[in-house]
Symmetry: C2
Subunit: 242 residues, 2 copies
């Protein structure tokens, strides 16, 4: 009832204010794009002075970094949830469910998508470590699960077709931090499978980013049909029955 007794009123307030700052920033982003994330605007919204925020984030970029981490984590959560929800389905359906969740999230949160994958805000450069790379790896592991499912569920020849272009890959081609998560989870997945995962990532990301940034809409009025065709072709090339 008393909550964690180790945290006094002081730190609780601090945590709440920190959360409010991030929440306000996300609201501003949703209504005005990532560019609207402004210390002064946040402070205005919260009835504070811009400088007060410096008590919670050393710099504007630190705040943006925290937002990226939060949003990226939300995306990873959504993808994991979609994956888990389709646990009973056939491999092809699972992959399609995951991909639709990806596109759906991006279209529902275009500003968040730009924040994560685009140039978030004027001079922002992402720092080295932190929570955002973790979320990125979670997404990659999720795609590796797709690849593993394909490897598993495909006829031998089918998997060969999907992997055929992956010859020549070795574990040394990939980030150790990624492999630390991928290899234990999917022991049967060879290096070529990880390469396949990254290529699938590229396929889906490409179509979605073109759509979110409006480049696709200029050429076609049916991006959803295009995406569906892409998925059909993807599962087919992986040798999966749909």
């Amino acid at each position: 009832m008393a909550g964690t007794p180790s945290t006094g009123r002081r730190e609780r307030l601090r945590i709440e204010t920190t959360a409010e700052i991030k929440c306000t920033a996300l609201e501003l982003m949703r209504s005005g794009g990532p560019d609207a994330i402004t210390l002064r605007a946040i402070a205005r919204e919260m009835g504070m002075t811009a400088n007060a925020i410096y008590g919670y984030f050393a710099t504007r970029d630190d705040l943006v970094t925290a937002l990226v981490a939060d949003v990226y984590t939300a995306l990873a959560d959504a993808l994991d949830a979609a994956w888990a929800a389709s646990a009973q389905d056939a491999p092809a359906r699972r992959i399609q469910a995951w991909a639709h969740a990806f596109r759906g999230w991006a279209l529902a949160n275009p500003e968040g998508f730009r924040l994560i994958y685009g140039d978030p805000v004027p001079g922002y450069r992402a720092p080295e470590g932190g929570a955002a790379p973790d979320a990125a790896r979670r997404v990659c592991v999720g795609i590796a699960a797709l690849a593993d499912t394909a490897w598993d569920g495909a006829a031998g020849a089918g998997a060969g077709a999907g992997a055929g272009a992956g010859d020549g890959f070795g574990w040394e081609d990939f980030d150790p931090g990624l492999l630390d998560k991928v290899r234990p989870a999917f022991p049967a997945l060879p290096p070529a499978g990880v390469a396949l995962a990254l290529r699938i990532w590229g396929h889906l990301h490409g179509l979605v980013v073109l759509e979110v940034y409006g480049h696709l809409r200029a050429q076609t009025s049916a991006p959803d049909k295009l995406f569906r065709a892409e998925l059909t072709q993807l599962t087919r090339s992986l040798g999966l029955q749909d």
Copy 2:
């Protein structure tokens, strides 16, 4: 000798100054990213006042629009040149040459790539018409040429595999302005072929944009190998001999 007599000294100077503004802006972009494109910085570099630029571009966004058009045109030129240079090669090699030209241009001009395909500059929103959409369509037509080559050079079954996922597309699914250029140039290409072109665009764009924005490098140390594998798989799935 006298040049075009219809243009007096006045307009010639005007054109030169306009070019110098754009050139200076591109230099700033190359050295400091798209964010460095600043009226004041350009003016400083040129020994002028920031407001003087308003005599040439009504607004900063207008300048950015002009830059986007120029850079996009340069990209389209590079791609067309690569395509023309491989005219004697087999379809698979031509497609690979085009794709490598695309990735190569992006890696050589990452700032330009971000300018075209990302969030160029704080609050910038692309206008409706103009030269940039033209260049975009040129690129799309180039990819349609890829698809047409595949349609042409592939065995019937192979083309069927590539197009299999394209069933259900009609001409009404695509931008009339795009079709105006594509259909006369490639009369044999069905709607599914245009869909295939857009999907190929998505594939390549996805991998390249992930690489340019650093998301791929975090997961693999061999993005070039990945891209090559992608192309091998692409030509294979199109039923082309490499």
